[in-house]
Assembly symmetry: C2
C-alpha cells in the first residue's frame, strides 16, 4: 500500500472551472475583439469622417495636391475603421476575440498602411496650412480655419489608429 494515495486530496478540476472565462493573460483592452478596440475604431472613424467632410466642403481644396490627397487618405481611413468597428462589434456580440494569426496580421498590416497614409496626408496639409497662414500670411484669401480643422481631425484620427496598430503588432509578436 502506498501511503499518500489512501486519502487522496480533492484536487480541483481545472478544465471545467477555467472554461467559462475564455480570457488569456495576454488579452487586454484595445486588442482586436475587445470593447477598447471598438472604442478606438469609432474614434478613428468619427475623426476621419469629420476631417473628410470639413475638407471636402471647402470650395478650393482641389487646387492643392496635398488637400486632394488628404481627402483620399481620410476617406480610406473611414472605410477601414468602419469595417473593423463592425468586425469588433460582431466579436463582442458572440463573446470571442480574434485568435488566429491571419486575422491579426491582416489587421496589423492594414492599420500600418492606413495610419501611415493618414499621417502623411495630415503632415502635408499641416505644412501647407502653416505656409499659407504664417509664412505667406494669406489667410484672408483662403479658408485657413477649415484647412486647420481638417488637418487637426486627421491628426486625431492618426492618434487613434496608432494604439490599434501597436497593440495588434504586439499581440502578433507575443504569440
Amino acid at each position: 500500500m502506498v501511503g499518500p494515495a489512501v486519502h487522496p486530496v480533492e484536487a480541483p478540476p481545472p478544465t471545467t472551472e477555467a472554461a467559462p472565462l475564455r480570457i488569456r493573460m495576454k488579452d487586454f483592452q484595445g486588442m482586436a475583439g475587445t470593447t477598447g478596440a471598438l472604442a478606438l475604431r469609432l474614434c478613428q472613424f468619427v475623426f476621419a469622417a469629420v476631417s473628410l467632410c470639413v475638407m471636402a466642403t471647402t470650395s478650393d481644396f482641389p487646387s492643392v495636391t496635398a488637400f486632394r490627397y488628404l481627402v483620399a487618405a481620410v476617406g480610406l481611413q473611414c472605410i477601414w475603421s468602419l469595417s473593423l468597428a463592425l468586425a469588433d462589434t460582431y466579436a463582442i456580440l458572440v463573446r470571442r476575440s480574434f485568435r488566429n494569426t491571419g486575422a491579426v496580421s491582416l489587421f496589423a498590416i492594414g492599420d500600418g498602411i492606413t495610419s501611415t497614409l493618414t499621417f502623411a496626408a495630415a503632415c502635408a496639409s499641416a505644412g501647407i496650412t502653416v505656409l499659407i497662414g504664417n509664412d505667406l500670411d494669406k489667410c484672408n484669401l483662403n479658408h485657413c480655419t477649415r484647412f486647420m480643422s481638417a488637418t487637426a481631425m486627421a491628426f486625431l484620427s492618426w492618434f487613434a489608429v496608432s494604439p490599434s496598430f501597436l497593440l495588434n503588432f504586439w499581440s502578433l509578436a507575443s504569440r
Copy 2:
C-alpha cells in the same frame, strides 16, 4: 552496483559547445547588435546627413516653416542614428547582442520618435514642394530640385528607420 553507471556513455558537455555561438533562435539580422542593424543605422545616417546638407545649403529654406522643421528633424535623426551605429559597432566588436529589456525598449521608443518626426518633416516638405512645383508652377523662382532631393533623402532615411523600429518592437514583444 547500479547497472547503467558502469560504462557511462560519453555525454557531450552542452555548456562548453553552445557557449561560442551565443545566438538564440529569436535573433536575426536587423535587431540591435547585429551587422544588419549596423547597416541600417549607417543607411539612416547617410540619407539623413545628405538631406540635411542639401536643405541647409539652400539659400531660402528659412522662409518656409516646414523646411526649417525638416532641417531640425533630419539633424536629430543624424545624431540618433550615429549614436546607435556606434553602440552596434561596440556590440559587434565584443560579440554580444543587446539582451536587457531596458536597452531594447529605449531603442524602440527612440526609433519610434525619430522616425515619426522624420516622416512628418518629409511629408510636410513634399506637400510644399509639390505645391510650388505642380500647383503654382513657380519652380523657376525656387530651388525645386534641391527641395525635392532633400525630401527624397528624408523619405529614404525614414524607410531605413522603420525596419529598425519594427524589429526592436518585435523583439521587445516576443520576449
